[in-house]
């Protein structure tokens, strides 16, 4: 390898100095929070007044992430199996196929996505009852 004199190539990188006058593009995260876009695929919500317990979401989930369970919550009278979905976030990949196949459109994804925990058992998640 030999070094050849390349004046343009040597001087042009110095234009990076002009970047001193640029506005920083950093999002100072904990202080400044960037809003997620509309329709971001975050955690699940399940509007219980609509949920019919059909287990379509469980059927379509290729990750086996959805359990249909019984809880002491009050259900929709149309809920034939008296079960509602619970999501295992140790499996979920946020593909939103489950929300696509939901017949009454009660299962949705919200824009919240933060869950940081020491305990792996915290990843079993009951969707919030939210329209």
């Amino acid at each position: 390898m030999k070094w050849s004199v390349d004046l343009k190539g040597t001087l042009s990188p110095l234009s990076i100095i002009t970047a001193f006058w640029l506005k920083p593009n950093t999002i100072a995260y904990p202080a400044v929070k960037k809003e997620t876009a509309k329709g971001y695929r975050g955690f699940h919500t399940n509007f219980l007044a609509d949920c019919i317990g059909c287990a379509n979401c469980q059927d379509v989930c290729m990750n086996d992430a959805i359990d249909m369970i019984k809880t002491d919550k009050e259900y929709n009278s149309k809920n034939t199996s008296q079960c509602i979905p619970r999501i295992d976030y140790g499996r979920c990949c946020w593909c939103s196929l489950c929300t696509d196949v939901c017949p009454p459109n009660s299962l949705k994804l919200e824009d919240d996505y933060l869950n940081v925990t020491k305990h792996a058992s915290d990843f079993l998640y009951m969707p919030k009852d939210k329209e």
């Binding site: 390898m1 070094w3 050849s4 390349d6 343009k8 190539g9 040597t10 042009s12 990188p13 234009s15 990076i16 593009n25 997620t36 876009a37 509309k38 329709g39 971001y40 695929r41 059927d59 379509v60 290729m62 990949c93 946020w94 593909c95 939103s96 196929l97 696509d100 196949v101 994804l109």
Partner: protein, 367 residues
């Protein structure tokens, strides 16, 4: 003092490696005598998992095959399924697909730029390039609902229509990028330290490139105008106007110039896509996931990814599951046949440089 013959592992834990893979290097002094690639650190058995899932279920897993650039996989999968099932996609969906593919190509080139500059110690370029790539990811987030794994291009169309005002935001980004790319020329492509490191390193001859089935920038870097978008146009690429940039020297620098020129072409294509975007539906009606059946037939589809031809072989067997899907990404041959060849006689310090210029992406080698 006589130099000793030593063997070292370059990777998997190494800052100068493109992902989780390793190269076993036999060295005398700093000169490489023999290179052996090792992969498998990311083997997940995609091809087996896809056989277990129905078509609709398998669609979510294919984008994981190549992490830096998931969209060509989705497009490939959707195109293969559509070809087997005999579906026709609406023009608007096709244009949106082209837009997504070109945006992801641009994003992948920025990621490459960060890696390539990092491999010779120009870290400022990486800081800029990753930040500019994030602007594209922001657009993706708005369009698809996720930053990296979009799961957006679906058999039968795309999953969502464009949000309101999206095309204007793409145009704004294009104007910014056009201006911004000149800065990269100044600090990276024309940089004397990059030129001196890259010119004449990792030279590939034309004959070898053709015979051994190399693709993408490796081919175009040694003067062959090969691009799937031109050779076998898919989607609506035959309605769009663009060029296939080539170089003749076949070294690392030539490949860098080709990639840089491709970024300009991507911007040019996006410009046309935004102007030509037709109205209409984005999704045709397809059967539900238990009823979506593929006939007993096979096909071979390919798209041009940011690193070259990306092809899928898909065979159906009359059931709702895919019998076999083989992924033939650009990296398999590049990482073995090409890299092992190129590294012989190279310096230890050039390993990262050469590797980055080939754009090797391990998750797609072992799948």
């Amino acid at each position: 003092m006589e130099n000793k013959h030593i063997t070292i592992f370059h990777g998997p834990q190494h800052p100068g490696i493109t992902g989780n893979m390793s190269i076993e290097l036999d060295l005398i002094g700093e000169t490489i005598q023999k290179a052996t690639t090792h992969v498998g650190y990311l083997h997940r058995g995609f091809e087996k998992l896809i056989e277990r899932r129905t078509v609709i279920q398998a669609f979510t897993i294919v984008c994981r095959i190549c992490v830096p650039e998931p969209d060509p996989n989705e497009a490939n999968f959707a195109m293969a399924v559509e070809e087997l099932a005999g579906l026709e996609v609406t023009p608007r969906a096709q244009y949106i697909r082209v837009m997504v593919l070109e945006l992801s190509r641009l994003a992948a080139q920025f990621l490459w730029m960060a890696g390539q500059s990092g491999s010779i110690g120009l870290y400022a370029v990486g800081q800029w390039a990753i930040a500019d790539r994030d602007l594209i990811l922001d657009l993706f987030e708005e369009l698809t609902g996720a930053r990296v794994y979009h799961m957006y291009i679906y058999p039968g169309g795309v999953r969502r229509d464009l949000p309101e005002g999206f095309l204007e935001r793409v145009t704004t980004l294009l104007i910014y990028m056009k201006k911004r790319l000149k800065d990269y020329d100044d600090i990276f492509i024309n940089n004397a330290s990059f030129k001196n490191r890259a010119v004449g390193v990792g030279i590939i001859s034309k004959e070898e490139a053709v015979a051994n089935g190399y693709v993408g920038q490796v081919l175009r870097g040694c003067g062959i105008k090969a691009d799937v978008r031109k050779d076998a146009p898919y989607l609506v690429y035959n309605e769009l106007e663009f060029e296939v940039p080539t170089q003749t020297t076949g070294d690392v620098y030539a490949r860098a110039l080709v990639r840089r020129a491709e970024m300009d072409q991507s911007l040019h294509i996006l410009d046309q896509v935004v102007r030509k975007m037709p109205e209409g539906k984005v999704m045709i009606k397809i059967p539900t996931h238990r009823k979506f059946k593929l006939p007993k037939d096979d096909t071979w589809v390919k798209v041009e990814s940011a690193r070259g031809e990306f092809a899928y072989y898909m065979a159906g067997d009359g059931s709702e599951k895919i019998r076999r899907m083989q992924v033939r990404g650009p990296s398999l041959v590049h990482a073995y046949t090409l890299l092992e060849d190129l590294l012989i006689g190279a310096e230890l310090s050039d390993v990262a440089l050469i590797m980055n210029s080939l754009g090797i992406c391990p998750p797609e080698i072992e799948r």
